[in-house]
């Protein structure tokens, strides 16, 4: 009910200078995260902090290739993040599968499943390349063009269709209920048997 357009520049500056990263190294690029966070490259100068809780995080670094099993967790984590959220895809694997172009278990094009804001080159991009990608995201936020989350919200059906096409309908319950017979001790299957 309050019109915030007057304060947009300040809010964008705050969003730009305090991005919290979801602590989820999905692929092989995860090994370049520690040097970024620690003494040598130190992203905390830009206010970026790894945060284990997705509810508080803004930036989601997809570090390298994505397998369907990880993609399910990525989608759940992505949907748990509050709204202005940005995705940074590392390396060539999220774009066209990279070195795993013919692997049955690697996603070939990440943008079909979740919106990607910035993609960085490099088969495991160097920390400097990641910082360049982050600089690009900061500029997008500054100019208000980082709208991955808007795209996800507007054409949610397109993303949902792709996801269900890959995992099958109702994949969340199937994945969750997969462990019940082994975890609950009783060899009880649900309504299938």
């Amino acid at each position: 009910m309050v019109d915030w357009r007057l304060y947009e520049p300040l809010i964008n500056f705050a969003r730009k200078r305090s991005m919290w990263i979801v602590a989820f190294c999905t692929g092989c690029g995860g090994i370049e995260m520690p040097p970024l966070m620690t003494s040598r490259y130190d992203l905390e100068r830009f206010g970026m902090m790894p945060n284990p809780a997705p509810r508080m995080a803004d930036l989601f670094l997809i570090t390298g290739y994505v397998t369907p099993k990880t993609l399910k967790r990525i989608i759940i984590t992505y949907e748990m993040q509050p709204d202005p959220k940005y995705v940074l895809a590392h390396g060539s694997c999220p774009l066209n599968g990279g070195i795993y172009w013919d692997a049955y278990n690697a996603i070939k094009h990440l943008d079909k499943y979740i919106p990607v804001d910035v993609a960085i080159a490099g088969c495991m991009p160097r920390p400097e390349a990641v910082m360049d990608g982050i600089k690009k995201i900061m500029d997008l936020i500054e100019t208000g063009k980082a709208d991955g989350w808007k795209r996800y919200k507007e054409n949610y059906e397109y993303y949902k269709k792709n996801q269900d096409e890959l995992f099958g309908e109702g994949w969340r319950e199937k994945t969750a209920r997969r462990w019940i017979p082994w975890l609950m001790g009783r060899e009880k299957k649900r309504e299938e048997e």
Binding site: T67, R172, G185
Partner: protein, 391 residues
């Protein structure tokens, strides 16, 4: 998401048990999106703050290396297989090259052996620093973690100068190494780095290894006796912490290790503290080995076998047969079994990462009865590398 009301209606219609199924224990997913596990999931059934039952759920990084390797010529596989273990990628390269050398019957020249040993030792030291950073973050000593990551960067710079890349070096190829050492300046830098880290060790001792609270957090947790370890296929520092002096560099020597003298630290208790201390002493030994190698100096001569087939790599053929080669990685016994049918692509490649034994049955049995605060500590003391399990 199926809403709660639909679930209840469904439960009532089918007259099934009312949910949740078991009320005495609760389930906690120590899943992939968690700071304690890189991308590897544990499903814990908890009672109070103690673990009642643990189930390992690997497979988040499975790319089917063994199938992909059968579609690529011999030399391209180096660029593929080294992506198995990310903290120390030189080990898969080395074992794959040693296996192919054995198949080809090549004898790697002296200089190449020296370079390979140095690269392996540098990989071990940087992997141990990575492990020290992990342990410090899990214990809470963020200062020691930051310092360990900073010192590891020095080795990253050295690797970059030697092989052109920070992490994935694609440097050891069958028959030797891809490029020669970039001159003496690099060797001097390596010696300075080893000296620098040697006298930084006492900082880590004060902060982590001789800290009262670390002893309280690590002592008597995740205890493993010798019989259990051998049955469960545990190798590397985890096995040496239970009293079994098994080190591949002594038991099945390769490259220059017979000529280097270093002792293999062995402890008896088999708990998380023993594993940490074994790694701490081995880290010191690796620095000592690097010093010996530098004193020895790289012998002159070619850095790779000059063989006609190396000129036209796509048509590089390996005679039929199979070979097994394994190396002592920081995580354990890293083995590769290569089968060739004489074609220009390998018939079958099997990489045996040490974490396939540590990360499934061992962790499931060690976690039973552990406190939730100990789960990340036990995971870190076993030093699992999830891609080893999924390959």
């Amino acid at each position: 998401m199926v809403t709660q009301e639909e679930l209840i209606r469904e439960a009532r219609e089918n007259g099934m048990e009312l949910l949740p199924l078991e009320k005495d224990t609760y389930e906690l997913f120590f899943g992939p999106q968690h700071m304690a596990t890189e991308n590897y999931s544990l499903i814990l059934k908890m009672d109070g703050h103690r673990v009642v039952k643990a189930i390992a759920n690997p497979g988040f990084l499975h790319r089917g290396f063994e199938k992909l390797a059968e579609y690529r010529p011999w030399h391209t596989n180096i660029a593929l297989l080294l992506r198995i273990c990310v903290p120390e990628p030189d080990v898969p390269e080395a074992i794959y090259s040693m296996a192919v050398d054995e198949l080809m019957g090549w004898e790697v020249p002296e200089r190449a052996q020296w370079i390979r040993t140095t690269v392996l030792e540098m990989a071990r030291v940087s992997a141990y620093l990575f492990w020290m950073m992990g342990l410090s973050f899990k214990l809470g000593v963020y200062t020691a973690g930051q310092w360990a990551a900073a010192y590891r960067e020095r080795f990253m710079a050295l690797f970059e100068e030697l092989t052109g890349a920070r992490v994935y070096h694609i440097y050891t190829i069958p028959g030797g190494v891809r490029r020669d050492i970039p001159g003496d300046k690099w060797l001097r830098q390596l010696r300075d780095t080893v000296e620098y880290i040697k006298d930084k060790l006492k900082d880590f001792d004060n902060l982590v290894f001789e800290n009262y609270i670390t002893y309280r957090r690590l002592e008597g947790i995740g205890v493993m006796d010798k019989k259990f370890a051998l049955n469960e296929g545990v190798t590397g520092p985890n096995l040496r912490a239970t009293g079994v002096p098994y080190d591949v560099r002594r038991a099945d020597p390769y490259l220059l290790y017979p000529e280097l003298d270093f002792e293999v630290p062995v402890l008896k208790e088999g708990d998380a503290l023993a594993r940490a201390l074994v790694r701490r002493f081995e880290f010191e030994q690796d620095l000592y080995i690097l010093e010996q190698l530098l004193d020895m100096g790289p012998p002159s001569g070619p850095y790779k076998v000059d063989h006609p087939s190396l000129k036209a790599l796509p048509r590089f053929r390996v005679p039929a047969g199979d070979a097994f080669a394994h190396v002592e990685a920081t995580k354990g016994d890293f083995g590769a079994y290569v089968v060739s049918d004489g074609g220009n692509k390998p018939y079958r490649v099997q990489i045996r990462g040490p974490s396939i034994a540590h990360g499934i049955r061992v962790i499931e049995q060690l976690l039973v009865g552990a406190r939730l605060a100990d789960v990340p500590v036990i995971l870190m003391s076993l030093d699992n590398c999830p891609p080893d399990i999924d390959r």
